[in-house]
Amino acid sequence: MMKGDFEVVNGALNLVQPSETWDYTPAGFPVPHHISNLPSTTARPVLDGHCTNTNLSDFMEQVASPFSEASPSTNGFPMDTSLPTDNITTSPDEYRSRKAPRRVHESAACGGESRSSKSLAERDEHGLNMITILLECAVAISTENLPQANRMLLELTQMASPYSPSCAERVVAYFTKAMTSRVMNSWLGFCSPLVPHRSILSAFQAYNNISPFIKFAHFTANQAILEALHQKERVHIIDLDIMQGLQWPALFHILATRADGPPHVRMTGLGTSMAMLEETGRQLSNFARRLGMSFEFHPIAERAGDVDPSMVPSQRGEAVAVHWLQHTLYDATGPDRNTMRLLELLAPRVITLVEQEMAHTGSFLDRFVESLHYYSAIFDSLGMSLPFDNPSRHRVEHGLLSREINNILAIGGPARSGEEKFVSWRMELACRGFVQMPMSGNSMAQAQLILNMFPPSLGYTIFQGDGTLRLGWKDTRLYTASAWTARPTR
């Protein structure tokens, strides 16, 4: 965990120079015509560097506090889907200290309807009760006391609903399900996953639509890639987990409309199934062709850590960019040491990395506590944007987030294979001699433009510091984008 002077910046500062001309990507995001350095932000430092809780009682208080401060719900929030103007005022509410009541952002404001028949005190007690049992259950699992855990899980499954207006209850429902699955796996003695890729992809797309996190990853990374591939004629982009390649059309559009003409683009996409990769490749090739950009696609149906480097040959004069968006839906990369070796061999001009700010390794209890905090924030964010019975919200929570939670709590963590995984990729890259390239003002601008699609009062926050860009919800950092190079920048 890197300490530093973190600065909290909301989507409020006016970085857009009115005199610049704007182009629009297919996704509808305005993009500067030429890359220029925008003034760096001067935001007020508000938080200290820490965001993870190692003190369980602090955490318990923080998680439980919404229940004691929940107030009767207001009506559902209007979602402002229009692109706002450049001048957005900061709402001072966003910068409260961490211990301040999260009243606005919890079950009260989460979804339009409250269970009006239950009194407030009853609801709070119910919520507190659920969380207490959940934590006790986690402790039981961490001490391998499976019968005890099972008993509590039985109770929790009767108590928590994933359709509740209360985000906390939804989180409990899914954590309960994950722990139920975990107990079964512990009893069975093996834990390989079965992964339904198509339904994951569909949930991933829904997530991309209703939440800024994926776009944040894509657009900040694209910006860093653009800057690194500046004026290159031949580029080779390697996406370590390409899925449906949602990220790339936006980048292609900019490359294709470069002042000095488009480069020749070679793309290598890694993924789980050749059929799906070929489909992705076809889509991207068609898109590139329509843009008049010379393009080749190479699918590799292997994980990065399993790939024989000879399968990813470099060509002379090519600038290599490697991109990876970390998730815990399935193990996309395999043995991390091998992946690192591959990166060293490729010696890319830029590696764009987007990591989840959450422990993927460590003891069960550590993973449990961190992920509870992490996903509470994400569920909260979804609850602020969509009503409790919205089908997309359910698809994302059930099809995507629940799957991640399941994997994190599984035996050995999300790798589910016993293979060794790095604690922090940023740390490892730094150790292996890769040099960090600070995310530029333009990347920051991209991030803010994405946030501008989601009304600032909702609570998404950008943190900038240590050369990285972090997107979070309220006080919780969720995704960190960083860029690295195999050799010092000229």
Binding site: L154, Y163, K177, S181, F190, R198, Y330, D389, G418
Partner: protein
């Protein structure tokens, strides 16, 4: 644990894996996605896997059991689609069966439910269910019709209500009494409450019934009879019968709660109180005759709850909490039937089909036919719901008639006199 052995089943095709093996040291496997035409080939995967697992359990094929439980565990979810739900709840039951923890789980669940159920929540669920599905209202309308007819001309009515629908049947009955042409009779309603129905719930119900009866202008008395442990222990003396009253016994989802060995005696007891009519409503599934044959019982249980879950899905909105509560209720029944032996787990959940109940009832009763009015009432009721529901008279060994959903008989209603 051996690597993939030939007889181990493959996962459903939407998850085909090229190398599938697992051992104690968490061997990783590569899972690839397969044919684009996912949906067709993969429907009903849950039933298939579950049945294979039940079979494996019955022959004690340990490696196959583990393999299937693992697969089901990976694919199941109580919040997913139809197959995922079936997989989840039946997996729970199979797991309890395999670990012989069924009784303990049932007991725990019973006490949890007891603690957490409130009048408000129970009422909300059942009212919503009745709004979207005729599953329970069918039996109510049929029974009310039969009782009204049998009690024609009587002035002091006493209804013994042994049902599981929290008295939602009676407002309509009170209304019918109040609007009869002749003088309004008086009604005593005795509700037989079993362990699962909390005291506070029944008290609240009593208050409301009294209030409603006052509104309708029907002289009314409400009492609750609590059965200590098992419904089968209910005795005539417990019921507080009086002279000069016409008695009707209303058994909606009641007889199945009587222990299998006690059923005939229970019916005998009912016969001995000389009621004018006994109405019986039960769900159409046989979980009794096969109770010593695990696989057969499992299949029938899976068939029935598959239909029930499907019906719930098509009747409720997707994010319905009420539907979730009903599904969880089913899971307790499933657990009780599949993972507990006869004497464990509170109320019995071993349902029987109409024809089976008929065989028992014929011992001391003869069937009463429903009047045309009563049948018309039921037909009118069904029209108020989504299409798919229909009425079918019983044939052959059975009397009464069935509620059918997509042409499959699901609930059976009948009326009897001694």
């Amino acid at each position: 644990m051996n690597p993939l052995t030939p007889h181990l089943p493959k996962p459903p095709s939407f998850i085909s894996s090229s190398k599938l093996s697992h051992d104690q040291s968490y061997h990783h496997h590569m899972s690839t996605n397969s044919d684009p035409s996912d949906t067709g080939a993969t429907e009903k995967w849950a039933a298939k896997l579950l049945q294979e697992c039940a079979e494996a359990i019955s022959v004690k094929d340990s490696s196959k059991i583990h393999h299937l439980l693992w697969m089901l565990n990976e694919l199941a979810s109580p919040y997913g689609d139809h197959d995922q739900k079936l997989a989840f709840y039946f997996l729970q039951a199979l797991f309890c069966k395999a670990t012989e923890s069924g009784e303990r789980c049932c007991k725990n669940l019973a006490s949890i439910v007891e603690r957490s159920h409130s009048f408000e929540s129970a009422r909300k669920v059942i009212l919503k269910f009745q709004e979207v599905s005729p599953w329970t209202t069918f039996g109510h309308v049929a029974s009310n019709g039969a009782i009204l007819e049998a009690m024609e001309g009587e002035t002091n009515l006493h209804i013994i209500d042994i049902s599981n629908t929290y008295c939602t049947q009676w407002p309509a009955f009170l209304e019918a009494l109040a609007t009869r042409n002749d003088d309004t009779p008086s009604l005593r309603l005795t509700v037989v409450a079993t362990v699962g129905m909390g005291g506070s719930v029944m008290r609240e119900i009593g208050h409301r019934m009294e209030k409603f009866a006052r509104l309708m202008g029907v002289p009314f008395e409400f009492q609750v009879v609590r059965v200590a442990t098992r419904l089968g222990e209910l005795k005539e003396e417990d019921l507080g019968l009086q002279e000069d009253e016409a008695v009707a016994v209303n058994c909606v989802g009641a007889l199945r709660r009587v222990g299998v060995e006690e059923r005939n005696d229970f019916l005998h007891m009912l016969c001995s109180i000389q009621p004018k009519v006994v109405t019986v409503v039960e769900e159409e599934v046989d979980l009794t005759s096969s109770r010593s044959e695990f696989v057969k019982c499992f299949k029938e249980c899976l068939r029935f709850y598959g239909v029930f879950f499907e019906m719930l899905e098509e009747s409720f909105a997707p994010s319905s909490n009420e539907r979730l509560v009903l599904e969880r209720e089913c899971s307790r029944s499933i657990l009780s039937v599949l993972a507990c032996d006869e004497n464990g787990g509170g109320d019995c959940e071993r349902r029987e089909k109409g024809s089976q109940w008929c065989a028992r009832l014929m011992e001391g009763f003869s069937p009463m036919s429903f009047s045309d009015d009563a049948i018309d009432d039921v037909k009118a009721l069904l029209k108020r719901y989504r299409p798919g529901w229909s009425l079918r008279p019983a044939e052959g060994d059975a009397s009464g008639f069935y509620l059918t959903w997509k042409d499959e008989p699901v609930v059976w209603a009948s009326a009897w006199k001694p």
